[in-house]
């Protein structure tokens, strides 16, 4: 599974690797949701620094996890988004609901 999940203090950090498309998103969704209900952290961090490709299925993945963590009264934070992936995320206005940190250093995603 191209996903690593670990607790970092109070935060649950899910680091995604490889391509995010509709095909890969299903397994990612299931694994992240499973971790959310197991750890019940206040904050879910999704780390995109190892993501090599992402289309709008990545936005759906994030919005779905946001709805899920909201049910627990939690918060969402996005890390390691490349400029290109940021541009796609912003089409959904996600910056209004999630904290977004750094990320321009993601060189894998061809900017």
């Amino acid at each position: 599974m191209p996903l690593t999940v670990k607790k970092q203090g109070e935060k649950l950090v899910a680091s995604i690797r490889g391509d995010i498309d509709h095909h890969s998103a299903l397994a990612l969704r299931n694994a992240i949701d499973e971790a959310i209900s197991r750890f019940r952290s206040k904050t879910l961090v999704l780390d995109f620094s190892e993501v090599t490709f992402m289309d709008s299925s990545g936005v759906g993945l994030v919005l779905g996890r946001y709805r899920n963590i909201c049910a627990y009264g939690g918060e969402l934070e996005l890390r390691g988004l490349s400029l290109r992936h940021m541009k796609i995320m912003k089409l959904s206005g996600i910056e209004k609901i999630a904290k977004i940190k750094g990320g321009e250093e993601n060189v894998k995603a061809a900017k």
Binding site: H22, H23, A25, D55, L63, G64, S92, K111
Partner: protein, 144 residues
Amino acid sequence: MLKPQNEMKLILKSHSVNEGFARVAVSAFAAQIDMTLEELSDIKTAVSEAVTNSIVHGYGRKIGNIYITCGIYDNNLIRIKIRDNGCGIEDIKKAMEPMYSSLGGDRAGLGFSVMECFTDKLKVYSKPGKGTSVILEKRVSIKC
């Protein structure tokens, strides 16, 4: 539309595993033009959206064929057509609105927005019950 300098046609099944293959194949063909990595990623992303739509919306639980044509034209123009014989779109204008999706779940409703964002021209033809064609055009710069 003039004759392309080079053209390829690709027919694939609407298995979701083919989403990755479709974008790799199209970008490997388009890469004949010496464009920037960023432009190549734009093409990959737009193709991924269109192919995913044929799989998810066009055919849904059925498996059908997806027809992709990619042509390289004068002045670094790349033209890609993605066609399915799926369910078609009733109201194209509404379908193309940002954040509109006819499916719940994790569809963000941004497929057409991404296609528009990363290409120079987007055309959608559709007939309910017959299928959908999406045409993407992008003029790339010569890499320096």
